[in-house]
Each structure stands twice: as structure tokens, then as C-alpha cells.
């Protein structure tokens, strides 16, 4: 079911990474993003996997939660793998049939590509979505990008928009599911038929979903108005971000680990 999608969802727990300052996590995320896309050697990948495992433990994320995050992306990872296997033609040919050529080098590269994607998803989940509430996330981005507001970039507003978007993901997922069921009971079929037909079928979901999103946006705006929202000026915070020594150390240690991985590579 769509409402079970955990991509972009927060996982409530009390863990080391949950309590780490979101700004540190955001910076670390950027660092690991770079690391993930630089490395190529299997040893480095192994070490990186070890670091990610350590993060998982520090975030108290259960294998079940991890699986539900990775699972929806596996088809894409597989797709990338297959495409790469068939398109890379360098190296020792293992198998060749008509225009299909499979090489050992190709398999290796393809595997790295697929693994990178999986790492990317896992890193995003552990460092950001699963361990950081959208409001904290937007706080962090607001703080990190605060200097930009000097050149009139509406940093607070953008951060608020992002956190609301994240807040509404589960709501809209449930809504989509409801609309699909309603249309199915009128005879819509989203599972079979040609690709074009399927796309056409989704119009019956998308239009009502758009209409309802506008209605929700409208109601939410009124509700926020009623709660005296007037932008970032003069706002206080229930849980203001506090950078502790622990946070700084966490940042340094994990950055060094990332540098180590790149160095091994």
C-alpha cells in the first residue's frame, strides 16, 4: 500500500543520531554524498558499508525499517545494473550473443552503480529523513542558509515550504490510495493494459488529487493564519538547535572517516 511508503518518513526513536544536531547531519550528508560518488574500489565500498552499518546502529534503525526504505528503490537499482551491464563493453568478454555483450569489467561497474544508489538512499534515510523531523530539518536548512537571506533569498519561507511538503507526504499517500480505490470500484484498472492506457488511467487519480491538494493547501493556509503565522520574524523555538561538543566531535569523526574512505580508494 502507498501509505506504507517510508521514503521521506520520520522514524521516532531516541538514539545517538536522532539527538545529533541536524546541521551537523546535513553537512555530513553532503560529505558522504561526495564520497559515495567518488569511490570505485571494492575495499573502499566495503569500508563505507561498515561506516553506514555503524550509523544504522547509532540511529537504532531496525532491519525492517531499513528494508522498507530500500525496497521501493530496488527495481531502479536493478534497472541501472542491467543497463550498465549491457552498455559497458570494455574488458574481458564473458558472454556474447548477438548485440549483447557482457564483460567482467561491465558487471563490476554496474554493481558499483547499483550499490551507489542503495548507499545514497540509505545515507539519506539515516542522516536525514528517518532521524530528523521535517521541522528540525527545515530549522537546520534555515540556519545553514541564513547568510543567503542577506541577498534577499527567502530562506525561512523555503524551509517552511519544505517541512510542510514533507509533513503532507503521508497524508497525500493515503489520499491517493483512497481515490484509486474509489475509481477502481467504478471500473478503473491500473494494473493491466498498455503503458499508454495506464498513464491515461492515472489522470483519474491525478485530477482529484490536485483538486484536493489545492483545497488542503487553502485550508492549511487559513489554519496557519489562525495560529498567527507571519513568517520567520520574531519566532521562537520549542526545541532550539544547540550545537554541543558532542555534535562537533561527531561531525569531525565522521568527516574523517569519509576522508579515509576516499583515501583508501
Amino acid at each position: 500500500m502507498l501509505s506504507k511508503v517510508s521514503l521521506g518518513r520520520y522514524y521516532p526513536a531516541d538514539s545517538f543520531l536522532h539527538n545529533t544536531d541536524p546541521r551537523v547531519k546535513t553537512i555530513l550528508y553532503a560529505v558522504y554524498l561526495v564520497a559515495i560518488f567518488i569511490i570505485k574500489s571494492p575495499v573502499a565500498i566495503g569500508v563505507l558499508a561498515g561506516i553506514i552499518l555503524l550509523m544504522l546502529i547509532l540511529a537504532k534503525i531496525t532491519p525492517g525499517i531499513l528494508w522498507s526504505t530500500v525496497k521501493p528503490m530496488l527495481p531502479l537499482a536493478l534497472f541501472i545494473f542491467v543497463i550498465n551491464v549491457f552498455t559497458i563493453k570494455d574488458g574481458n568478454v564473458l558472454f556474447s550473443w548477438k548485440f549483447i555483450t557482457v564483460t567482467a569489467y561491465g558487471i563490476g561497474r554496474a554493481a558499483i552503480m547499483a550499490v551507489r544508489l542503495v548507499f545514497l538512499i540509505v545515507a539519506t534515510s539515516i542522516l536525514l529523513t528517518l532521524t530528523t523531523t521535517p521541522l528540525k530539518m527545515s530549522d537546520a536548512l534555515e540556519k545553514l542558509f541564513a547568510p543567503l537571506s542577506l541577498i534577499r533569498v527567502p530562506v525561512h519561507e523555503m524551509a517552511m515550504m519544505m517541512s510542510i511538503a514533507l509533513r503532507f507526504i503521508p497524508t497525500l499517500a493515503v489520499e491517493t490510495d483512497k481515490i484509486m480505490k474509489a475509481q477502481q470500484s467504478r471500473g478503473a484498472d491500473y494494473d493491466s493494459g498498455s503503458f499508454i492506457n495506464k498513464i491515461k488511467g492515472y489522470i483519474t487519480v491525478l485530477i482529484p488529487l490536485f483538486v484536493s491538494s489545492f483545497r488542503r493547501a487553502d485550508e492549511l493556509a487559513v489554519a496557519m493564519d489562525a495560529r498567527c503565522y507571519r513568517g520567520g520574524k520574531g519566532r521562537t523555538k520549542l526545541n532550539p538547535l544547540k550545537l554541543t561538543v558532542k555534535d562537533v566531535l561527531t561531525g569531525i569523526v565522521f568527516t574523517l572517516l569519509a576522508v579515509l574512505v576516499v583515501f583508501i580508494d
Binding site: 500500500m1 506504507k4 520520520y10 521516532p12 525492517g64 522498507s68 523531523t133 521535517p134 521541522l135 517541512s163 510542510i164 514533507l166 509533513r167 503521508p170 497524508t171 489520499e175 483512497k178 481515490i179 480505490k181 474509489a182 475509481q183 477502481q184 470500484s185 467504478r186 471500473g187 478503473a188 484498472d189 489522470i203 483519474t204 485530477i207 482529484p208 483538486v211 484536493s212 483545497r215 488542503r216 485550508e219 492549511l220 487559513v222 489554519a223 496557519m224 493564519d225 489562525a226 495560529r227 498567527c228 503565522y229 507571519r230 520574531g234 519566532r235 521562537t236 523555538k237 520549542l238 526545541n239 532550539p240
Partner: protein, 607 residues
């Protein structure tokens, strides 16, 4: 307009001659703008408990928005406790002292975590820590959500979400709290919970409480009612004054059920009720007892509604040993359900939110394919199993399913096209399309104009009918309706149930999902109670709502039955031998039954 002198009473909310239109005024348009508020004046005292009533689209929500300065009047004056809402310097001061709880819980939650959401309001006001923390914790304790403060807001139930909305309001420490149909989407027990909390807070903090509601019995809890019609105040006064009036229907309203019952007794005994009689249950039962003691009451004719033996009717749909568990959940959403639905009946499926009602009906037309157990649809052309993939379309043609708020599934340019969508999908030949679509629209009472307009231009009630027509067009033998009347005003509800009754009379079997015991009791032939994914009882309303049986099942007795039994106890003091063999759930019919019982007990001339 210089002579709009408002008495600047520091102890009341004064709305004076307010005009407001949502249409952006267009000088070149010949159409006069439609006014949501059309010169409305109302005065609400500090600390009072006021209900604003009116039909859908009467302007009552707009009035609430004007009071919270969420909308600024085109003309007229609003003064809140002596502060002029037109004064820009007082704007935030006024707004921060007035809080709203809206109807849809999902569309007013900003935070992903419970405590973050509660903090949103006071954060906007710039409340510093540690006061902010204290306010949030206190508000959460007040509504009983403190233990859940670190929860994900999307994991809360509907009732909990509305409590969260109150907490969010309380944390702002307002003087005025406005509930804009805040209980409309809740089941009866969460509704009671919600009102209890709000009323307790009002008593503790001296809040001025304004509630907008379609529930007349809920309105009885208030000190004062304001009836809004076409953007003006049509009536105002204490509940007992308002409900004396015979004009309620034209404003889309009805009397609370117990008053309908009382007025019918007054009519049958040729007596008159006074507003003093309506003040409390005690005064009302006393007045009614007095009426019934009068000599010379005519025996009300018993109208037999030609009950045929429903047990002997053929079974049209059977649910067999059905169980279902959602992915990633350990709890069974459905646990071994067995249920037979007979041709031509109205079967009610009743239970609290989250009991498995929707999961059950989703199996009835193979939206969910049975994993354990089966659902069999018996048709003229033989039995269809929901397990069988190739029968799916036939099943969906036979079993029409209208989900809650079906208006949200409309998508075509015109209502006609939308109604035809299902027909086309079912492969109905083009020549028959138009007739079938128009037939369906007729059944729900849509006019030709409405059929050819865009569904998004219709009013809420009409949209719902259009969406229902989209399912009815396929001429299903069985129609499953999930809360078909939710969100409608009392008149709209009554019209909806009239449509359902006419469908039933034309031979459609109806399965009605509801959490409203009053309506289930009146409209259903049989009721199936569900709790925690299990069927706890199936029976006629008469069987289930006997006091002992209802207590044993732990269900709410319909309001009419509760009030009627108060009166019956009173009557037993006068006529110790009186017996009440009939129980009716329609207030008028129940009144007749009571009068008949009194006549039989020797209260009047028995023919």
C-alpha cells in the same frame, strides 16, 4: 456610513452590519457579487457558549473567520472585547486571543511531531523558553495527549488529531475558542470526549466558546444559538426559544430528536409545549407526562408498514470466514467475518473509527481480494467469487461502492462525462450510455442543468449526489455506502436518506456504513456491529437496542430511545401496569407508540 456607532463593550464580541464577498469585485461583470455575509450583526458575550447554526453555505464559517480576522469585511465593523478589528495596530493582538479548530484534522496540523505542532502557535507569538515549554506541556496534559508528545502526528487517530488541534489552540492562551464543525468527522465516542475537554477548558479558563455545528443535540449544550441564513442572522436566542420555532426547516435545520418526539406527543394529545418545558429533560418529561394524563386522547392509528418476512428472502452476498491483516501490522483488521446479506434489505454496518468497517466493504467488490476466506456475490448468472480475478469487473458492476466523501473522486469536465466514466469502463455500448447516465442522475435528484455543468461548480451536497450517480449508473444490485451523509446539514442528511430509501424501494440492496446510531436505527432493517475487526452482533435495531442487550454489547443507545425511556419510567409511576411492546426509532413513530401504550393502559378512551 458615518452612523455605524458600535457600543464599545469590553465584554462582548460585536459584529455590526458586516458585508463580505469571496468574489473579487469585477466592475464590468453584470452579475452582482454573491455575498457570503450580507449585513450581519451579532453580539456574543464574554465567557458565553454560543452555537452558530445554518445550512451548508449559509455563511456561518465566514462569520467565524471574520471574528478571528482571517477575513476582513468589505464593510461593517467588528469589535472584539472593546478592540476594533479594523485597527491595524490591534490586528495581532486580537488574532492571538482567538483560536480556531477546523473540521478536517489533517489540514490544520503543521508539525510532524505532536509537541512541535502544539508549539507552532506560541512560537509564532514569540513566546520564549522556558514559558513555551510549560505552555506546550500544560496544553498537552489538558487534552490528555502528554504521553504521546513525541509521536508522529500522522500516526494519531482522527479523535486524537482534533484533541491535538485543541492543544495547539490552548497553548496560545486565547480568550475565544471557535470550533468550526470540529466534531463533524469524529465518531460518537471521540465526539463526546472532544466536547468534554473543550467544555472543561471553558470552565477552567473562562473561554468564550463559539461552536459551528450541524448536530442539533450538540447545540443544546450551548447558552445561545445564532441561526445564520443567506449571510444574515435569521434567529437568535436560547436553545429552548429557538427550538420552539416551526421555521427551522427552511434554514436547513431540524429540532433535536427528543424535541421532535415531544412535539409529536403534544400534537397527538392536542396540547402545546412552552419554551419553559424545553429547558431540561426533567421539565420536558414532566410536561409530557401531564399531557398524557389528559383525558380524551385519541388512539393514534397504527400504520403497518407491510413487513414481509425478511428471513426468507434469498441471500445476495455472503462473506465467509474473511480475515485480513495489513502489511507490516500484527493486528488483524478483519478477524473471521461471516455475514449474509439478503436481497432488498438495508443492512447497517456500525462501529467506531478504525474497527475494520472500511476494510470489510473494500472486500465486497474486490477492491481488496480476499486472502483468507471469501466473499461470494450471488447473481442471476451464477455465483461470483471475489477471489476470482476474471470476475472482478462483473462483481464491481453488481456491487457498487460509494466511499466516504465521494465528491473527492470527481475528475471529468462535466457531471455527465463523470457519470459515464464507469459505464465506459464496464464496456456498455454507446447507444445505452446516455439513458443510463440520465437515469442515475434522476435517481439522486440532479437536474439537467447540473448534469451538464462542471462537477467543481456544484455545491457540496450536489457534488456528492453526482459522485453517487457515477456508481449508480451501473445499476448495481447491491449498493455499499460509506457514511453517505457525513458533513451535510440536517436537511441534506434527511434528503440523502430519502434517496437511499427510494433506491431500496426500487429493489436495490443497501449496505450502509455508519457510526451514527440514531440514523442506523431509523434507516436499517438489520445492523451488524463490528469492533476490533470482529462482528460482535447482528440483529434488528429492535433486538440490539433493548437496554440489557445494548449494555451487554457496550453500544450507545439511540438518543430517541434514551429520552423515550426517561418518559416511560415517569409514566410507570402513573400507570404501574403500562407496557411498551413497540419500540420505534423514528421520533414521530415512537411518540405514537407511547401514546398508544398510554391509551391501552387506560389513560384515555380506547376504541
Amino acid at each position: 456610513m458615518g452612523n455605524n456607532i458600535v457600543t464599545e463593550n469590553p465584554n462582548s464580541i460585536e459584529v455590526k452590519d458586516v458585508v463580505f464577498s469571496y468574489d473579487i469585485s469585477d466592475e464590468e461583470s453584470d452579475k452582482a457579487p454573491r455575498y457570503a455575509l450580507d449585513g450581519i450583526s451579532v453580539s456574543i458575550e464574554k465567557g458565553s457558549y454560543t452555537a452558530i447554526l445554518g445550512s451548508n453555505g449559509s455563511g456561518k464559517s465566514t462569520l467565524a473567520k471574520i471574528i478571528d480576522i482571517l477575513e476582513v469585511p468589505d464593510s461593517g465593523k467588528v469589535v472584539i472585547f472593546g478592540k476594533d478589528a479594523g485597527d491595524d495596530n490591534l490586528f495581532w493582538d486580537i488574532r492571538s486571543n482567538c483560536c480556531c479548530v477546523f473540521q478536517n484534522p489533517d489540514n490544520q496540523i503543521v508539525g510532524t511531531i505532536v509537541e512541535e505542532d502544539v508549539a507552532f502557535g506560541p512560537e509564532n507569538l514569540g513566546v520564549p523558553n522556558p514559558e513555551l515549554r510549560e505552555r506546550v506541556d500544560q496544553a498537552l496534559k489538558d487534552v490528555g495527549l502528554y504521553e504521546l508528545r513525541h509521536r508522529d502526528t500522522s500516526a494519531l487517530s482522527g479523535g486524537q488529531k482534533q484533541k491535538l488541534a485543541i492543544a495547539g489552540a490552548l497553548a496560545m492562551q486565547p480568550d475565544i475558542l471557535i470550533l468550526d464543525e470540529a466534531t463533524a468527522m469524529l465518531d460518537p465516542s471521540s465526539r463526546d470526549d472532544f466536547l468534554e475537554i473543550v467544555e472543561k477548558m471553558r470552565a477552567q479558563k473562562g473561554l468564550t466558546l463559539i461552536t459551528i455545528t450541524h448536530d442539533m443535540t450538540e447545540a443544546l449544550r450551548c447558552d445561545k444559538l445564532v441561526i445564520v441564513n443567506k449571510g444574515k442572522v435569521a434567529m437568535e436566542g436560547a436553545p429552548e426559544e429557538i427550538f420552539m420555532s416551526d421555521d427551522l426547516w427552511q434554514y436547513g435545520l431540524k429540532r433535536p430528536v427528543k424535541f421532535n418526539f415531544a412535539f409529536e406527543i403534544a400534537k397527538l394529545t392536542d396540547s402545546k409545549l412552552t419554551k419553559e418545558d424545553l429547558v431540561s429533560d426533567e421539565t420536558l418529561t414532566a410536561a409530557l407526562t401531564k399531557m398524557l394524563k389528559k383525558p380524551g386522547i385519541k388512539y393514534p392509528e397504527y400504520i403497518n408498514h407491510s413487513e414481509d418476512k425478511k428471513e426468507e428472502r434469498e441471500i445476495i452476498l455472503s462473506v465467509k470466514d474473511l480475515s485480513y491483516t495489513y502489511d507490516g501490522s500484527d493486528v488483524k483488521a478483519l478477524d473471521n467475518i461471516n455475514l449474509d446479506i439478503r436481497k432488498g434489505e438495508v443492512l447497517g454496518i456500525v462501529g467506531e473509527s478504525g474497527c475494520g468497517k472500511t476494510t470489510l466493504i473494500s472486500h465486497m467488490n474486490a477492491i481488496f481480494r480476499p486472502v483468507q476466506g471469501d466473499v461470494i456475490v450471488h447473481t442471476k448468472d451464477g455465483d461470483l467469487s471475489c477471489k476470482n480475478k476474471k470476475d472482478t469487473m462483473k462483481i464491481r458492476q453488481n456491487v457498487g461502492l460509494v466511499f466516504q466523501y465521494p465528491e473527492y473522486q470527481l475528475f471529468e469536465e462535466t457531471v455527465y462525462k463523470d457519470i459515464c466514466y464507469g459505464l465506459k469502463k464496464m464496456g456498455i455500448p454507446k447507444t445505452e450510455l446516455s439513458k443510463m447516465a440520465y437515469d442515475a442522475a434522476m435517481k439522486v435528484g440532479l437536474s439537467t442543468d447540473e448534469i451538464n455543468s462542471s462537477p467543481f461548480e456544484l455545491s457540496g451536497g450536489q457534488k456528492r449526489r453526482a459522485a453517487m450517480a457515477g456508481v449508480l449508473a451501473m445499476n448495481p444490485g447491491i449498493l455499499v455506502l460509506d457514511e453517505p451523509a457525513s458533513g451535510l446539514d440536517p436537511r441534506g442528511r434527511q434528503e440523502m436518506f430519502a434517496i437511499i430509501k427510494s433506491l431500496r424501494d426500487s429493489g436495490t440492496t443497501i449496505i450502509l456504513v455508519s457510526h451514527n446510531m440514531d440514523e442506523a436505527a431509523v434507516n436499517c432493517d438489520r445492523i451488524c456491529l463490528i469492533d476490533g475487526g470482529k462482528i460482535t452482533a447482528v440483529g434488528t435495531p429492535y433486538e440490539l437496542f433493548q437496554k440489557e442487550r445494548a449494555d451487554e454489547l457496550g453500544i450507545q443507545i439511540p438518543r430517541i430511545t434514551r429520552f423515550s425511556s426517561l418518559l416511560k419510567n415517569e409514566l410507570k409511576n402513573t400507570w404501574p401496569d403500562i407496557s411498551f411492546p413497540e419500540i420505534e426509532f423514528n421520533p414521530e413513530k415512537e411518540a405514537q407508540a407511547v401514546v398508544r401504550a398510554v391509551c391501552r393502559a387506560g389513560g384515555a378512551d380506547v376504541k
